[in-house]
Symmetry: C2
Subunit: 268 residues, 2 copies
Amino acid sequence: MTYCVALNLQDGLVFASDSRTSAGIDYMTSYSKMHMFNPSNDRLFVLLSAGNLATTQEVLNRLKRDIDFSDSVESLLTPRYMFEAADYIARVTHDAQQSHLKSLQQAGVNGEVSWILGGQIMGQPHSLMMIYPQGNYIEASEATPYLQIGETKYGKPVLDRVLDYKTSLEDAAKIALVSLTSTANSNITVGAPFELSTYKSDDYQLLRRCKFEANGDYLVQLEQTWKEGLSQVFNNLPGFEREDPEQETGLNDKAKSPGINLQVQSLP
Amino acid sequence: MTYCVALNLQDGLVFASDSRTSAGIDYMTSYSKMHMFNPSNDRLFVLLSAGNLATTQEVLNRLKRDIDFSDSVESLLTPRYMFEAADYIARVTHDAQQSHLKSLQQAGVNGEVSWILGGQIMGQPHSLMMIYPQGNYIEASEATPYLQIGETKYGKPVLDRVLDYKTSLEDAAKIALVSLTSTANSNITVGAPFELSTYKSDDYQLLRRCKFEANGDYLVQLEQTWKEGLSQVFNNLPGFEREDPEQETGLNDKAKSPGINLQVQSLP
């Protein structure tokens, strides 16, 4: 599997991805799932990929070739809006998927790829989109400032609880990284190295691009600080101790807490 | 969907469950998914259920009836070991599933039920098991002190990061509750009221059994304290700021942090 997450914020964009690639459980390798295109000074695109590796590479190769021969064909230099870039990438993806569809289906292999596309074209705001294998796309919004592809569930609660459209790029990068490590900790098919990049609106180049190794100092320290922090938060959560331990048993008692008025009900 | 989680700890057991039941997205109701059997003073069983509601109720009714007529039939009074209780419940479940299998299959409905069974029979240690719809079961261990059924992914990271076999019943109850609220926050098919119960080893009765309403004081305060705590933890995470903002752009820079020696690598 894969886990990629990207954040659409007031100040810009954050992208994070794992790099574990598997063909069955006995063939695990590492491939970058974060791809940057900066074909001219007025535009920057970052693509995160989930799905079939061969299709992914075929699409990326075609995008690069189209930039090289941009005089004669549509390319990432052509779009005036981000949605036009999404449409173009969707068409290239559709073609790549179709070209091997029959033989892949016969082999029982899924050749589909999902993308997260983020970036900015001069004159337009920065934006973030998810492109489905079927070619349609959705865009992140202020109310839902993140998009995920791949193994999305483990890393979602931390985004839902902490992330906000106005979160700074620096804080948001930490949130994306914790969303990744949470997923990798709970699901062995998602794994380091992790890649992280941030884009500040109207810069047309990345603010930061980093790669974090599994046992590198940073991830180790992040994990430790996060675990200790969580334990600390649990210590501070309101308790539901009762004042009289003698009354703790039985089904008809009501829980009491010295601190707050518990809405705890006994059950039939 | 459903989310139930149970913890097997040195001191005893913790059970937590949501109560949202749905037949399609336009028929949402609430049913308890936590069921206690205390048929005699030497044994206590708690069952958490996920799956088809009709099958669940049929199995629970049969378990109760078998206790009433325990002179002539196998019942929860019969087992000498927890695994014998799991075997018995699995057989009753299998019978209930089989009795409607054909008509359910014709209607495209899944009649299966998964269970978490926890409790203790005098003379044996307390124990915790998951019973699959197919009738086999697995037991929680010191190394893996939790079991989950239903919508399990959202609530797993917090268990993996904070829970330990030696965690106290009180702290573990908070962890189970946060695992539940994390899931309910991120997935609308899991919802309050939440039920929570704790069992202290060798007690043969529940130490605590509570029900938490969605907008009750306790859950509101728990959510608020948890969110604020998480934000605080993020503030304390190691940063990856560079000292010279002028050098922040470009792909070939290495990230630096004043605090720690980052294992951050530039990408090709």
